[in-house]
Every structure is written in structure tokens, then in C-alpha cells.
Amino acid sequence: MLLSIKDLQIHYKTPMGPVKAVDGISFDVPEGKVVGVVGESGFGKTTAVRSILRVMPTVASFAGGEIIFDGKDILKLSDRQMNDLRWRDIAYIPQSAMNALDPVWRVGDQIVEVLTKRGGMPKAEARTRSEQLFAMVGLEANRLRDYPHQFSGGMRQRASIALALALNPRLVIADEPVTALDVIIQRQVLDTFAKLQREFGLSVILVTHDISVVAYVCDHVVVMYAGKVVEKGPARDVLTHPSHAYTIGLYNAFPELSADHDCELSPIEGGPPLLLNTPPGCRFRPRCPFALEICKTDPPEVKVGPDHFAQCHRAHEGASLRQLAADPAVWRRVVTA
């Protein structure tokens, strides 16, 4: 296993007490696979993946758990060892690639800088390598002399992928890489990830709020809700047999092109809970149409298939819940209740 996160906890210090942004999550990233981390904004996805690089705001701190990368616990490394790991072994593509490139530098020079300063490569070699990198992500070498503002959104996104790949990292963490892009460009960027994985065996953690992105490129999926992993497993199993009510809800809220014209979408009503002084029990309970009395106690992790787990008291009833959830009225009831 390239990366294993075990029972990771990250707390934010606030005047009202600690906010448990990441509350005991565990998942694995196998070598050469794309793992999707899905969930709404504010659910700790970004906090969780940035902690793999130990890049966190000053108010955040590790409160427990371990992150094993290639056999080493990242949380136990010295700052210097950690710095060696960054970019060379684990690269990060930030949420908004538009702002990730320096506007006053040529894009090519930014890649060369990384290769020479962090990679220790001679300048001439770095130039050839940056042309290679541009080719890998489907950009023309003559655009290396351009400034970021001369690039379109999709090109900037691809340039930041090229930048992340500069030092041959073993793991790339991409935070919402296609969220602000048009459908056609989104497709082209996702195809770039798929190609890199296929041809270079790249391992990727892809953070997104959109399950269609998971369906298109991911091998495994981790669904997060309010700081916890509520469902995880192979993308195919989770998307065809979602077993946690939140995953089922994500699926039903998705506007599909092929669906019946008059069918109604079911939004997940209500909003995410505050992660301050959270009561015990399932975090999704206030928004869940299937919640029972027992849901006020912490849900167990139920194995619903090979490698497929859901954190829900009713996970074993998956099939019947999926059927019930198809009716939008079921989801509307939650507000009135």
C-alpha cells in the first residue's frame, strides 16, 4: 500500500472549543490507482488531504492517528525529512489552478525553477524535461514561453498538473481539479489524469464534490460527511450499490442527461452540522430520511461487499433503502419532520 491513513484526527482550535474537522478517518491509496474523496464543502476533505503533506493552518493540529506513506509515518518525520518528501514524493495541485501559477513569470520558467532548485537538474536538461512534461499533459512546447494569463482555464489546470509532475512524484493530490471548468475542458483534464495513470502508473488522490468525476476516473472512492468517512470501496461497487443514505442522496441529486424528462431531482435537505461539541450518533441523522432511534448511537462500520464499507446502522438494508430513496417525497419529508 502506497499510503494508509489510520484513524486520523485533526482539530481546529477555536474560542468555543476544538472543531473536529477530521474525526477518525481511515483509508488506503494503492500504488497506481486513482482514489476519489467525495463530499460537500466544509466536510474536511481539503483538511484531510493537505495533512498528508503536513500543510495546515496554524490553528489546526493533529489529535491522533497515523499517515503511513511507503512504510514511514509522516507525522513522525522531522521537518527536514518532510520537506524532502514534498513535491519529490508527494505533489499537490491546489484547488484553484488559476491562482497557483505566478502571474509575472513565464510558465516554462516556473517549471524550470522547480526542476533546478528542488530537483537539482542542470538548466539545459530542465528545459528538455519541461517540454516533456508539457507533452505529457497535452500542451504544446511553444506555449512554455507564455505567461499564465495567456492560457485558458483548462490549459492553466494542465500546466499546474505538469508542475506537480515535475519531480516524478509517486503520489499526486489534486484538490477539486475540474470544479471551475466547462464540461468539455473538464473532460479533457480528466482524460489527462486517466492517461497519466495508465501510462506512468501514477497514484492520485482526487478531491471532488461531484460523483460523475469519480465515475469517470476513479478506481476507489471515499465518501466523507462532516469529518468522517461514511462509505468507501471500489468506485464501481459504491456507485452501483451505494449503501449509506448520504451516498444514495448524492446519487439522486445528480441531474442526468438520459433520465426521464419529468423526473424530479431530490436535493439533500438541510445543511451540514457544526462540528463543535457534536452529539454522539450518526452525523447525517438530521438530514437522513431513514434515521431511526438507534442512529443516536455511533454507527458501526458495516462490510457490505468485498472491500466495500459503510458506516451506518442500516447499511445491510442497502437494497431496500435505495428503492425507497428513488421517491423524491422521501427526501422532502426530512424538512417537515
Binding site: 464543502s41 464540461v183 473532460r187 442527461l257
Partner: protein, 338 residues
């Protein structure tokens, strides 16, 4: 034309008639341009014509930079066209005097793309919602009633405590409902919704789309819905117009356009729509490269440099938008009459 006349004139079924509408923006001139007397410009929207019936919803789809936002703003007289006209209820928007414009503002509203900066952060939600009522001079006696109705429409009526909150205290989905309520509170006949859900998580998008659908069905609201995602347009709009580099390339009933897209660009858009299906096709899109620089569009058909079907005829002459079957218009030489 007075305000009363605009508000009361009701003739045929057509609410909005757009004729040969164009907009070009001037670019800054270099020294060379000045010396040669050139005025470089970008044609953001060129020669667009269509009509919107009362209660009809039209989706405008296309990539960023295709001019769909500029078009939407011209429909609301927020940008003056360079050529052509927009007639609202038979009256040309450029002929409106001050009182008539006020009456128009009450009947036509805009829903913004980004709810996080569409509301004044110093205003409570209540104040933001009353603002359009004051601005369009709705009698004060009606305010509370209209406000109540708008809150019911956007399903915030069970959360009245939010009215005294400030925008930063609300979630994205709640904010977008407020933005919608602000547009609907004056009970308009027409709204332009510019990418109203693109900034929101997928799970809360559905709620906003449902509100729009309901407003269409119960208020008889006519709408222009601008998006780059055909799946969203399909959910709300009866008709779809595809735009590419400032012009309309296809126009038709949404259902037909999605089931059988005729223009090669629409075909690529349909194929690119994301689906949550693990067995979906990974075939390459039938489209080449990225959108060209708007300042130097290719000669002939503007799509010709990305089109898999393009030949010399396409590169020599621009295909006109023509009717290929009842209700469907396409601008492509390669599409035969249906």
C-alpha cells in the same frame, strides 16, 4: 413611452424578441493601432435573433467566452447592444425612458452566478430582500405580502430566523435561495439566470433547480437559463440554444437537441456531459483543441478549426443559421434538411 404603457401592453404571445443583436467591445489600442487608425475590437455577440414566448424557458449553452453572459446582460439592458434590438413586450429596450425603465426592472430580474458575492455583506438578508421592492417603487403596503410569497417559493419560509442574519452566516445553498428570492420578490415576468448553480455542491443544486422549475410552472415565469452543462438545462428548459464564439449554432426543443444534436459542437457538448456511471464511454470527444482566441476567430465557420467534419467550403464561408425542420435551426453546411 411611459411606464404604465410598458407595464400594461399585452399583445401577442411573444414576450421578448431579439433581432440581429450584436455587441463588440473595444480593446486597448497599441501605438501601431493608433498610427494606422485601427480600432481593434472583439465581437462578443454577433447577429443573434430569437424570440421568447411568455412563460417559456430557454437554455443558452456554450463554453466560457462564447458570449452567453454578454447576451444575458443585453436582454436586461445592463449592457447596450452595438447593433440590433431587444424588444420586451413590443417595446425596444433602448427606447425606454426613466419611468419606463423602472417598470421594466420590476418585470425583468437577474439571478447571479456566485451567491457568495451577490449579496451585500453589510445588509441583513431581510434588507437585501426588501431592496428590490424599494428600488422598483412597489407600494409599501404590499411589501410584507410579496416577501412572504417569495420566501415560500424558495422554501425558506420555515427558516425565518435567517432573515436577520448576514450573508456570511448562511450556507451556499441558502444564499442562492436568497438570491433567487430577491429576484422573484417583485414577481417578475422574466428572469435571466446566469449559471445559477455552478458555484454550488451537486447535492444542493437540485434544490435550486426545483425552485426554478416550480416558478416556471406556477408563476408563468419566462426565463433564460445560462449554463455550460446540458444536463442542468434539460432539467429546467423547454428550448435550448447553443452558442459558439458569439453566434447561435443550434436552436431547438431541449429534448430533441439532446436526443439528436445536429451541429457537431452540440454533439460534443452532449457527449461531454458528466454522468455518474462507471460504465460510461471514454471515447475521445468529437472536437479538436480548445476555443480559439475571440480576437482572431477563424475565417468561414467559426467552429471550423475544431470541427471533425470541416472542409474547404466551411473555411471559406460562414454557414447561416437556417431552419432544418419545424422548430429547429442549425448553422452548419454539413447538416442536411431533416
Amino acid at each position: 413611452m411611459t411606464g404604465v404603457a410598458v407595464a400594461q401592453k399585452a399583445g401577442d404571445d411573444v414576450l421578448l424578441r431579439v433581432e440581429n443583436l450584436s455587441k463588440s467591445f473595444m480593446l486597448s489600442r497599441s501605438l501601431g493601432d493608433v498610427l494606422r487608425g485601427r480600432n481593434p475590437k472583439v465581437d462578443a455577440v454577433s447577429d443573434i435573433s430569437f424570440t421568447l414566448r411568455r412563460g417559456e424557458t430557454i437554455g443558452i449553452v456554450g463554453e466560457s467566452g462564447c458570449g452567453k453572459t454578454t447576451l444575458g446582460r443585453m436582454l436586461l439592458k445592463l449592457i447596450e447592444p452595438s447593433a440590433g434590438s431587444v424588444r420586451f413586450d413590443g417595446v425596444d429596450l433602448s427606447d425606454l425612458d426613466r419611468p419606463a425603465e423602472l417598470a421594466f426592472r420590476r418585470r425583468a430580474q437577474l439571478v447571479f452566478q456566485n451567491p457568495f458575492d451577490a449579496l451585500n455583506p453589510h445588509f441583513t438578508i431581510r434588507r437585501s430582500l426588501y431592496e428590490p421592492l424599494f428600488n422598483t417603487q412597489v407600494p409599501v403596503a404590499d411589501h410584507d405580502n410579496l416577501m412572504g410569497q417569495a420566501l415560500v417559493r424558495v422554501q425558506l419560509d420555515h427558516m425565518l430566523h435567517l432573515l436577520d442574519s448576514y450573508p456570511h452566516q448562511l450556507s451556499g445553498g441558502q444564499l442562492q435561495r436568497v438570491v433567487l428570492a430577491r429576484a422573484l420578490v417583485v414577481q417578475p415576468d422574466f428572469i435571466v439566470a446566469d449559471e445559477p448553480v455552478s458555484m454550488l455542491d451537486v447535492s444542493v443544486r437540485a434544490g435550486i433547480l426545483n425552485v426554478l422549475r416550480e416558478a416556471r410552472d406556477t408563476m408563468g415565469l419566462a426565463a433564460v437559463f445560462i449554463s455550460h452543462d446540458l444536463a442542468l438545462v434539460r432539467y429546467v428548459c423547454e428550448r435550448t440554444i447553443t452558442m459558439y464564439l458569439g453566434s447561435v449554432v443550434e436552436d431547438g426543443p431541449t429534448r430533441d437537441v439532446i436526443a439528436r444534436p445536429l451541429h457537431p459542437y452540440t454533439r460534443a457538448l452532449v457527449q461531454a456531459v458528466p454522468v455518474p456511471d462507471v460504465d460510461q464511454s471514454h471515447d475521445p470527444l468529437p472536437i479538436i483543441g480548445a476555443m480559439p482566441d475571440v480576437r482572431n476567430p477563424p475565417p468561414g465557420c467559426r467552429f471550423s478549426d475544431r470541427c471533425p467534419l470541416a472542409d474547404n467550403a466551411c473555411r471559406a464561408e460562414r454557414p447561416p443559421l437556417r431552419v432544418v425542420s419545424p422548430g429547429r435551426r442549425v448553422a452548419c453546411f454539413k447538416v442536411p434538411d431533416q
